[in-house]
């Protein structure tokens, strides 16, 4: 499961808060290795030899070889028209500034503390007159709100300067709306669409992280987004505004949120901007094969049923998404649960169906994705240019972190993608006996997101997070193999049921809830770790980040936050939405339930960079 805060596609807020996990370790059941269909796979994939299976690494290549040989052993074949099971794709493993510089008047800034390309910037060398466009916010007309930083400005062929974030002093409703459109990619797109030559972003003196350049965020884009984009320091901003009012005063006017406060051309200022982003490109491989149907495919078509799991993990955790503590840093991240467990489940399902004497009316497509951990890149490469037509796939089942079941609880996500799922799940679970938690939402931080986006009826299986998530301690010894085998057996009955259906499951597109907060707007952290596997009214904490705001406020695992800053909280989305409106270092009241008792505390959010 990817834990990235920012990835290419729109992500749910789930990833946002899943920063660390502090649940007590689970008890691993004693079990016989011989009986397990999954144990040997997990133990090999999570072994030292594979070095954490980082996308593009030697360990990842070894894992891919292993998977291909296991698939071949089961009688699987390369997809039609292909000679082997490897589907390579290119990805960006990271990016850094390659020497951006900006010249204002006669003064050139080239230090990284003064100017730094945004990760999605084009490489370019441009110059031109400069227009200040306020916060650079454009609320689409469909929102009936009326806020357009460019309404009175002509920025064609100009270099646009905008402020980071959104108006600081606006009323809550205004902030809530503007926060949605404050993502820097979105601001850059707005400038590009109006013909701007480049966009410069300054963090205003009245904002958090005042005067600092924006850190180069991890971005898996292979190329720039069509406009040179860089962030600049307070010193550069001051040079730009030398002939105008001081930026602090300008920002203060804008901060009321009044949509009629317009931007302006900076008189007599010419800027030359050179941007350079160095993207580290690698090749990784999806491993995909299929077991041909052994009975005539129903005439209603969609002849494939797909099962998949990502097999990559974090390597030694150098790409910024490790949650290793200081003394664990740099160690091999074994990724036994994330996601040797799901990989093993897919192999076990394939083995079960391959060995079954029952005829299969659909082909079983088995896919192992790479580069999931850096933003679902492998599965996206597959759905973007599918080697079998995507509308030939009747259903997709995803397995990500299915090896640490607790209390018999199995989370099945994306059930909203087909009206067929509830009945199938109910029927299969009568015998399987899981305490099923169903979640309609397919916008999950795992590969199922891409299949929903591609119009495939999907399900994602998940057994919940744990304290070893994204740490070197996610090892094979901690896997609950007995229940992992049960998950695979349960899923195999579902796969078989779909294989037998005359009509493939009807696909239902699930809209992203509009009341959901977005990463772009969230500027603070409260250090809470929500429990996603248990549905309660409120935000149930599976832990708090040690030393973080929630920890300091005395919150702990098991508490249910029901109100923050006067906003009632019914679920994680309400919470993210409420976070958008909080300010760093300004204490707010938190109402929570502990053992059913209503309590209050004061929490001071911290700034998120």
């Amino acid at each position: 499961m990817t834990g990235r805060l920012t990835i290419m596609r729109q992500k749910t807020t789930l990833a946002l808060v899943a920063l660390a996990f502090v649940l007590p370790a689970t008890t691993t059941l004693a079990q016989s290795a011989a009986a397990s269909r999954t144990r040997a796979h997990v133990e090999f994939l999570a072994s030292e030899k594979l070095e954490g299976r980082e996308a593009g690494s030697a360990g990842e290549r070894l894992a891919a070889e292993y998977l291909a040989s296991e698939l071949a052993r089961l009688g699987a074949r390369p997809l039609p028209g292909r000679t082997d099971m490897f589907l390579p794709f290119e990805f960006t493993a990271g990016s850094r500034d390659g020497g951006s510089r900006v010249t204002v008047g006669g003064r050139t800034f080239a230090e990284r503390t003064d100017v730094q390309a945004l990760s999605f910037s084009d490489d370019a060398d441009v110059s031109g007159a400069v227009v200040f466009a306020g916060y650079g916010l454009v609320v689409p007309e469909s929102q009936n709100f009326g806020y357009d930083s460019y309404a009175a400005l002509d920025v064609k062929d100009k270099i646009v300067v905008v402020l980071r974030y959104f108006p600081e002093d606006a009323d809550e409703k205004t902030r809530a709306i503007l926060a949605r459109y404050s993502d820097l990619r979105y601001k850059a797109m707005a400038a590009r669409q109006r013909g701007a030559r480049a966009i410069l972003v300054a963090t205003g003196p009245r904002s958090p992280n005042a005067g600092q350049v924006v850190p180069m965020t991890f971005d898996t884009a292979l190329a720039g987004s069509g406009i040179p984009a860089a962030s600049i320091s307070g010193a550069v901003a001051d040079a730009l505004f030398a002939t105008a009012k001081p930026l602090r005063d300008v920002q203060q006017e804008l901060d009321s949120g009044n949509p009629h406060v317009a931007g302006f051309e900076l008189p007599g200022v010419t800027v030359r901007l050179r941007t350079s982003v160095v993207r580290e490109r690698h090749t990784a491989r999806n491993v995909v094969a299929y077991l041909p149907a052994t009975a005539p495919v129903p005439p209603a078509a969609k002849p494939f049923v797909a099962i998949g799991a990502h097999y990559d993990h974090l390597g030694r955790g150098d790409r910024g998404n490790s949650l290793a503590s200081k003394d664990e840093a740099g160690g091999i991240h074994h990724g036994a649960d994330d996601n040797a467990s799901g990989t093993a489940a897919v192999l076990a399902i394939a083995e079960t169906l391959a060995q079954s004497p029952q005829p299969r009316r659909r082909h079983l497509l088995m896919a192992f994705w790479s580069a999931e951990e850096i933003g679902l890149v492998g599965s996206n490469a597959f759905t973007a240019s599918p080697p079998v037509p995507i509308d030939q796939i009747a259903a997709y089942f995803n397995f990500d972190m299915v090896g640490r079941m607790q209390n018999n609880r199995l989370v099945v996500q994306a059930t909203g993608t087909s009206p067929a799922w509830a009945r199938l799940l109910e029927r299969a679970n009568v015998a399987a006996g899981f305490d099923l938690v169903t979640q309609a939402d397919p916008y999950q931080p795992t590969d199922v997101t891409n299949f929903h986006a591609a119009g495939v009826a999907s399900l994602a299986f998940f057994t919940g997070s744990h304290p070893d998530y994204h740490k070197p301690t996610d090892t094979a010894a901690k896997i609950n193999y007995e229940d992992l085998d049960r998950v695979a057996a349960f899923a195999a009955t579902l796969v078989r049921a779909v294989s037998e259906m005359d009509e493939p499951p009807q696909f239902t597109k699930v809209d992203q809830p509009t009341t959901r907060g977005t990463i772009a707007g969230v500027r603070v952290t409260t250090g809470t770790i929500p429990d996603y596997a248990t549905e309660v009214k409120g935000l149930l904490l599976s832990g708090v980040v040690g030393g973080g705001p929630a920890d300091r406020a005395g919150l702990m695992k098991g508490d249910v936050i029901v109100e923050i800053a006067g906003k009632t909280i019914a679920n994680v989305y309400d919470y993210t939405y409420a976070l958008e409106l909080l300010r760093a270092d300004q204490p707010v009241k938190v109402v929570f339930l502990r053992n059913g008792e209503r309590r209050e505390t004061e929490l001071t959010p911290a700034a998120r960079r």
Binding site: A422, E426, R427, G433, V437, V536, G596
Partner: protein
């Protein structure tokens, strides 16, 4: 909050009850329930699961088919996982029960009402408007008790009285049906105050009746103002257990009586809404639901069959846990819970630890001074 007729009195939702102080928890759920898990998945809501006498099936009510926003009755087969609809598919239905030693299943339904489909559409339109209903249950006077003979697929109507006839269950020998009806409000002329009462809360007039399995020999057993409902026979078939609300519909308690309505005894006394009782097949104790810990927080409790001891809490989850029904072998428990998320219930299933239940009841303190005086055993 789910709506269930075998005990849930909707108007009372509007009022408030002072929750009794929570006693320190002596037990946890896993002491009595193991391998707890959600059984029903499909549809918006499901509840009131009752076992077949052989323990192989469960009959329940669920809203799970497009076009009908009311409950229909379904039977789930544990061996195959298959679920089939028992009721006709239109109108409102509730409260099903397997008839022992036969292929018949009982339930209450309004499907003979020519307005059934119109009412379904009205309810769907109402939901689409985004409003919330004030009342969880409307005690439609069209409700009548039916049986389905599964082999022939034939429906037989057993009651004909104007008024709500529902909440039926069979005696262990399958020869008698206990049920609840507010027919009394429709078969005599009501005074102005009573007429107003009927408009506000038709369940006020509900009383316990019994009849033979063919619908003959209908007899009224209770005559106390306030909602009497949810009757079930004791495992030995000698008594009926049910819940009785006070006149305001705020407080409910579990009672038992003989089949002729005599020897009525109050078993619970929480000063809260205690309802949906069902006797364990051992005959030694009964399970019921109560909101004594918080108005919207129903939990399952158990108490010895005479109600001498303090009830022992069984479930520990926010929201609704109620309508507990032990399996015929006494080793499993089906109940209705909102613990899966949302306001609506689904049916959950767990292994039931009978020995620990007995031990906990033996160790439970005797009931305090406020307990009603009662006689020995039933």
């Amino acid at each position: 909050m789910p709506s269930f007729t075998r005990g849930f009195l909707a108007p009372a939702l509007l009022a408030s009850v002072t929750a009794a102080a929570q006693a320190p928890a002596q037990f946890q759920e896993s002491d009595f329930l193991s391998r707890a898990r959600r059984l029903t998945v499909e549809g918006r809501r499901a509840g009131e699961g009752y076992w077949s006498p052989d323990g192989q099936r469960l009959v329940f009510q669920s809203e799970r088919e497009p076009g009908n926003p009311f409950y229909q009755i379904y039977a789930l087969d544990f061996a195959t996982g298959e679920t089939k609809r028992i009721s006709p598919g239109y109108g409102k239905t509730t409260c099903s029960f397997f008839r022992p030693r036969t292929d018949e299943i009982l339930f209450a339904s309004t499907h003979h009402d020519p307005r059934s489909k119109e009412l379904q559409k009205e309810e769907l339109d109402f939901r689409a408007s985004g409003k919330e209903r004030r009342y969880a249950w409307d005690y439609d006077p069209e409700f009548e008790i039916y049986t389905l003979a599964e082999k022939t697929g034939r429906y037989t109507r057993l009651t004909n009285a104007r008024g709500y006839d529902a909440e039926g269950s069979y005696s262990p020998d399958g020869q008698w049906i206990a049920f609840s009806s507010n027919r009394d409000a429709y078969n005599r002329t009501l005074g102005a105050a009573e007429q107003k009462q009927l408009e506000i809360d038709p369940s006020y007039f509900a009383e316990i009746y019994i009849m033979r399995a063919d619908g003959s020999d209908q007899r009224r057993l209770t005559r106390v103002a306030g909602y009497d409902g949810g009757p079930f026979f004791s495992p030995d078939g000698t008594r009926i257990i049910w819940r009785r609300f006070d006149e305001k519909g705020l407080i409910a308690d579990v009672w038992t009586m003989k089949l002729d309505g005599t020897d009525a005894r109050q078993i619970t006394d929480f000063g809260a809404m205690s309802w949906a009782p069902y006797i364990h097949p051992s005959g030694q104790y009964l399970l019921f639901a109560s909101n004594k810990l918080g108005f919207e927080n129903f939990e399952v409790f158990m108490v010895d069959i005479d109600g001498r001891k303090e009830p022992v809490r069984i479930t520990y989850a926010d929201g609704f846990d109620g309508l507990p029904v032990p399996s015929p072998d006494g080793r499993r428990l089906a109940w209705t819970s909102s613990r899966g998320g949302g306001r609506e219930g689904q049916i959950f299933l767990a292994e039931w630890n009978h020995e620990r239940a007995l031990a906990a009841l033996t160790a439970a303190p005797n009931r305090g001074q406020t307990a009603v005086t009662r006689r020995t055993g039933i």
